[in-house]
Structures are given as C-alpha cells and as structure tokens.
C-alpha cells in the first residue's frame, strides 16, 4: 500500500475518498468508451465513414490506454475497481457513447464522438482543478489524459465544421502524453 503517498494527498487537503471515486468513475468512462467506440468504429463505413474511421480507432485505443494508466493510481490511493462490470459501467463519469439510431448517419456518429470527448475534457479539467498543487502525481496523470482528450475533441469537431484546430492525426504512435504512465 502506498501509505505515504496517500498521507501526502490527505495532508494537502484533498478528500481522498472523493478523489478515488472520481478516478474510478473516469476509469469506467474510459473503458466503456473503448467498448462503445468499437461499435461506432465498426459502423463507420462508406465514403464518409471511412474518412473518420482512423481517428475513431486512435481515440478508442487511447481511451483504453487511459483506463490502463488510471488503474494503478486508483490502487495507490487505496481504492479499487468494482467487482461487477455492470456497476462499473453504471458509475461512468460520462454517458454511454451509443450508436445513433441511424448508424449510416456519419454526422450523428460524429456528434456522439465529440460529445463523449467533451465530457472527458470537462472531467479531467475538474480533476486537474482539484489536484493542482496538491496531488502532483494524479495531476500529472490527469493532465496527460486531458491533453489527449482535447486532441480527440479537435479531430472530431473539425469534421463537424466547427473550424480548424491546428492538430493533426497521429502518425503511427498512440498516447504521446500518457505513454509514460504505461511503461
């Protein structure tokens, strides 16, 4: 048990139980998003769908990486994952990124994707705000994830015609910010 690590967080004034719950809820959001994005990616077909498929796949893999990166921190802080996968799904910090009623409607799928990313951006901003200057390790991890979620949002929002973001898709790599937590 990372006893001193927990003590440092508490001494800094962070409510440890609330922080652990937030991390579990966000880990749930990442793993469930990985699942729902699998369905979205499978259905991104045709002239328009194929254009989106690659970035949907990158976002899917990176969301799984976020889950993997969050789990050790949850246990370091004395938390644990729910035993039931159903409970884990239902405590997600973000709503299910469900396939639109018309799976051939690529714009509708893009809206689901961008809303999921926006929920994540808000969620990690919230954790960064709670931990900044107090829990350096959780802050560092949340900031790394936030950087990737912001890029995901920008990829999808550009396709929705919301304007240029200046970002470009990955070139063979994944998780440029979070990979240091996966070694």
């Amino acid at each position: 048990m990372a006893k001193v690590a927990q003590e440092m967080v508490k001494k800094a004034g962070v409510n440890l139980d609330e922080l652990v719950e937030l991390l579990v809820n966000n880990a749930a959001a990442e793993l469930t998003t990985y699942y729902y994005y699998t369905i979205l990616r499978v259905n991104l077909i045709g002239m328009a769908g194929e254009t989106i498929k690659e970035i949907a796949e990158t976002a899917r893999i990176e969301d799984r990486n976020h889950f993997e990166a969050l789990v050790p921190r949850i246990y370091e802080l004395g938390g644990k994952l729910p035993e039931s996968m159903v409970d884990f799904h239902n405590c997600s910090a973000c709503p299910p990124a469900s396939l639109p009623k018309d799976p051939t409607n690529v714009t509708a799928t893009l809206k689901v994707l961008v809303e999921a990313e926006r929920c994540a951006v808000r969620g990690y901003t919230h954790i960064c705000n709670l931990t900044a200057g107090k829990d350096h390790r959780t802050y560092d991890l949340s900031l790394a994830i936030l950087n990737e979620e912001i890029e995901h949002e920008s990829w999808f929002s550009e396709f929705l015609g919301e304007g240029p973001s200046g970002h470009f898709l990955r070139r063979g790599e994944t998780s440029p910010f979070v990979s240091k937590f996966l070694r």
């Binding site: 409510n15 609330e18 719950e21 937030l22 405590c91 910090a93 919230h126 705000n129």
Partner: protein
C-alpha cells in the same frame, strides 16, 4: 410555473427518484440525466441545491443545464 424555497428544493435530492437543481433562479429537472445519477454529479455536487456559485468554478457553464426541463423558479435565490 411553480416556485420553490431552498428548503423545498432540498427535498428533491434524488432519493425519491426526482432530482432538481437550481441555477440563476431557475429550477431544472435532472432526474433523467446519466450525469446526475443517485443525486450526484462528478462525485462532489449534489441535487436539491442551488448551484449558481458552484458553476462559476465548474469546467462548463449553465448552458449544459439548459438541456434539461425547467420546472420552476427559486423564490429566495440569494
């Protein structure tokens, strides 16, 4: 439209299946929201309360609350 005092609003904390929150004098019904399950949002925020001040420090504005039905107004917002 119905009016609520803070005390009345506090009864709608999600425990009875109905969850309301107030913001800038308006009362929103968030009972059906995935993000307000069990009367909680992002672990630290509770339903049955006026969130006007809390929202100032949140990573989003009141525009997200506007997605929910307005069920009344808060008579003692200050």
């Amino acid at each position: 439209m119905r009016t609520f005092t803070r005390k009345e609003l506090a009864r709608y904390d999600g425990s009875g299946g109905i969850a309301y929150v107030a913001c800038e004098g308006k009362i929103y019904d968030v009972s059906q929201s995935f993000l307000w399950q069990k009367g909680k949002h992002q672990v630290i925020h509770r339903t049955g309360a006026d969130l006007t001040e809390v929202l100032k420090g949140a990573p989003h504005g009141s525009e997200l609350l506007e997605r929910f039905p307005i069920v009344g107004s808060l008579v003692d917002p200050d």
